[in-house]
C-alpha cells in the first residue's frame, strides 16, 4: 500500500480559500475545537488502520551549507521571504490509493476555524518513495 504525507504549512501554497488571523487571535472555544479536531484525526486514522506517524515542526528555520575546507558551516536563519513555504507538520498515512489520500486530506482541511466554520486550509499531499523491493 502506498504511503503519503499530508503536509500542513505555516505559510506558502496556493492563495488561501478562506484567509484567517493567526490561531492565538481566535476565540478560545474555536481554538479548543481546532485542537480537538487534530487529535480526532490521529485517532480516526489509527482506528482505520491508516495511521503511520504524526509530527509537528517548530516555525524556527536555519538554512545550513558546507562552508568549504577548514571552514565552519555557513548558516542563515533569516530573513526569509514571507512567501516561502514553511512546513508546520504532517500526518504520514498508509492507504489503498491516491484517491483515499486526497479524500483524507480534504477531511483534514475541513478542520474548524474561526466561528467553528471549516478552515479550507490547503493540504500538500506527497507520496513517499520506496527502496528497491516493494513487492511486499
Amino acid at each position: 500500500m502506498p504511503k503519503y504525507l499530508l503536509l500542513k504549512h505555516y505559510r506558502g501554497g496556493p492563495e488561501p480559500h478562506r484567509p484567517v488571523p493567526p490561531i492565538d487571535q481566535w476565540a478560545p472555544e474555536d481554538v479548543e475545537a481546532h485542537v480537538a479536531f487534530q487529535h480526532h484525526v490521529s485517532k480516526l486514522l489509527e482506528e482505520n488502520g491508516e495511521y503511520v506517524d504524526a509530527r509537528a515542526l517548530t516555525p524556527a528555520r536555519t538554512w545550513v551549507r558546507y562552508g568549504g575546507p577548514d571552514a565552519a558551516p555557513v548558516t542563515t536563519d533569516g530573513p526569509h521571504p514571507e512567501t516561502s513555504d514553511l512546513v508546520a507538520g504532517w500526518w504520514m498515512i498508509d492507504v489503498e490509493s491516491h484517491e483515499r489520500a486526497v479524500e483524507l486530506a480534504a477531511y483534514v482541511s475541513s478542520e474548524p476555524g474561526p466561528g467553528g466554520k471549516p478552515l479550507y486550509e490547503w493540504i500538500d499531499v506527497r507520496e513517499i518513495m520506496w527502496e528497491a523491493s516493494s513487492d511486499d
Binding site: 487571535q25 481554538v31 485542537v35 480537538a36 517548530t58 524556527a60
Partner: protein, 406 residues
C-alpha cells in the same frame, strides 16, 4: 525479576567479568527465565540468574577463545542467596559504572535504564522515540567504552553528582518527552525506583533531595493533564487529585536530608528544589501558596551557581515568578527585563512574561507574550496550552474593553 538485575550484574562485574559481556549474558539469562520460570519456578531466582548468566559467559568465552584455553574455573557454584546488605552497594556500584563521566548523557541514561533498570532495548527506544537499532547501537557503544577492568576511576567525588543528574534526566524526560503516552510515565516511575534504591546505598543528602523532588512533583501528575490531555497549570489544578501519600513520603525524605545540613554543608540544588515543590504541595489552594518562603528558596537556588542566568535559566525564571507574587507583577517583570538579553529567545521567558502580565491585569500584553511563547515552544501539548492562554487573555481583554466602553 527486574529488581534482581542490578544485583546479579554487579555480582558478575565485581567478580572481574567484562561489563559488556556480563550485561549481554544477563540479558540472555533473563530471556531464558521468561521461558523456563512459568513451568519451573526456581527456588532462588537470583542464584538461578547468576548461574545461567555465568554459563552464557563461559560459552561465549569458549567459542570465541578456545585458543586461549582460558580457565573455566569461573563456572563456580552460585553462592546461595547473597546477603541483602550488599544490595545497596551493588546498585551504587552499577550506577557509577553506567553514569561514567566519560559517557555522553544520552548513553548514561540508556545504559542506566538497561543495566540498572532492567528495561529492554525496545522499551528504552520507544521511550526516547528512536528506532530500536539506533538505541541498540548507542548502548553497545557505551558498553564498549566501559570495557576493561571496572571501577578504575569510579567512586570519585563528583561521580555521585553525575548519577543524580542522570536519574533526574530520566525523570524529566518522562514529563517533557515528545509524547506523553504510557512509556514516558513508566520512565518517571523507574527514575523514582532507582532514586529510592540510591538512597538506600548512600547517606548523601542530595540523593534524598532528588528522591524527594521527584516524589513531590510526581504527586501532582494526576492533576497535570485533563481528560482531553490538555495541560492544567498549577493554580488551576484539582488539588484533590494530588497523591497525598507521595507528598507525605517526599516531605519525610526531604526533612531527613535537610536535617543533615551543617554550617559548611548547605542544602544542594535538589533539596532546594524539593523544598519549593513541597511548599506548592502544601498549599490547600493556589491563593494560600507561601510565596515569600518560595522566593527565599529561589534566592538560595540562584546562589548555588556562579552565573545562574546562563547555568540555571529555569531557576532565575522561576524566581522572577516568585518575585511577581511577593513584590508585585511589575517587580517580576523588571526581573525578566534583566534576563531578556540572554533568555529572550526562549519560550519559557515569554511564558513567564505572559503570566506576570496577566497577574498585573494587562491582558493584551499577556496575550502577545503567550503567543510569542507558543511560537517558540518545542512541545506540542505546551504549544497548544500557550495558544489557549493567548486566546483566553485576548478574549478577556476584549471583554474588559467592552465593559469599560459601557
Amino acid at each position: 525479576m527486574r529488581a534482581l538485575v542490578p544485583r546479579v550484574l554487579a555480582g558478575l562485574v565485581r567478580r572481574g567479568e567484562d561489563f559488556d559481556a556480563a550485561e549481554d549474558a544477563l540479558q540472555e539469562a533473563l530471556l531464558e527465565a521468561l521461558r523456563v520460570w512459568p513451568d519451573h519456578p526456581p527456588r532462588d531466582p537470583r542464584a538461578w540468574l547468576q548461574t545461567v548468566a555465568t554459563r552464557r559467559l563461559v560459552d561465549a568465552r569458549r567459542s570465541e577463545a578456545a585458543r586461549q584455553r582460558r580457565e573455566e574455573a569461573t563456572e563456580a557454584e552460585p553462592r546461595a542467596g547473597g546477603p541483602t546488605s550488599e544490595e545497596g552497594d551493588d546498585t551504587l556500584f552499577l550506577l557509577f559504572c553506567c553514569c561514567h563521566p566519560d559517557l555522553a548523557p544520552a548513553s548514561q541514561v540508556a545504559l542506566t535504564l538497561r543495566a540498572v533498570g532492567g528495561l529492554t532495548t525496545r522499551e528504552i527506544a520507544d521511550a526516547f522515540y528512536v528506532p530500536e537499532a539506533t538505541m541498540a547501537q548507542r548502548i553497545s557503544r557505551a558498553k564498549r567504552a566501559l570495557a576493561g577492568p571496572p571501577a578504575r576511576r569510579l567512586d570519585q567525588p563528583g561521580d555521585l553528582a553525575v548519577v543524580l543528574r542522570v536519574l533526574y534526566l530520566i525523570y524529566t524526560t518522562a514529563h517533557i518527552g515528545p509524547h506523553t503516552g504510557p512509556p514516558a510515565q513508566d520512565l518517571a516511575a523507574e527514575a523514582i525506583r532507582l532514586a529510592r534504591q540510591l538512597t538506600l546505598a548512600t547517606e548523601e543528602p542530595e540523593a534524598r533531595g532528588l528522591l524527594a523532588l521527584m516524589l513531590l512533583n510526581h504527586a501532582r501528575l494526576p492533576a497535570r493533564l485533563d481528560s482531553e490531555g490538555r495541560i492544567v497549570t498549577l493554580d488551576r489544578q484539582d488539588r484533590g487529585l494530588w497523591d497525598t501519600r507521595e507528598i507525605a513520603e517526599g516531605v519525610r525524605v526531604l526533612q531527613s536530608a535537610l536535617a543533615m545540613q551543617t554550617e559548611d554543608r548547605r542544602p544542594g540544588r535538589y533539596q532546594v528544589e524539593a523544598a519549593i515543590a513541597a511548599l506548592h504541595d502544601d498549599a490547600a489552594s493556589a491563593e494560600e501558596t507561601d510565596w515569600p518562603q518560595i522566593l527565599a528558596w529561589y534566592d538560595d537556588l540562584v546562589a548555588l551557581t556562579d552565573d545562574p542566568v546562563r547555568q540555571d535559566p529555569a531557576a532565575v525564571l522561576g524566581r522572577a515568578v516568585a518575585v511577581g507574587h511577593v513584590l508585585g507583577a511589575a517587580a517580576g517583570l523588571r526581573e525578566t527585563d534583566r534576563l531578556r538579553d540572554v533568555l529572550g529567545e526562549r519560550h519559557k521567558w515569554h511564558a513567564v512574561r505572559g503570566h506576570l502580565h496577566e497577574l498585573s491585569g494587562d491582558l493584551p500584553a499577556a496575550a502577545t507574550a503567550y503567543a510569542d511563547a507558543a511560537g517558540r515552544a518545542t512541545n506540542i501539548a505546551e504549544r497548544d496550552h500557550l495558544v489557549r492562554q493567548a486566546a483566553r487573555a485576548r478574549a478577556g481583554s476584549h471583554g474588559a474593553t467592552t465593559i469599560r466602553g459601557r
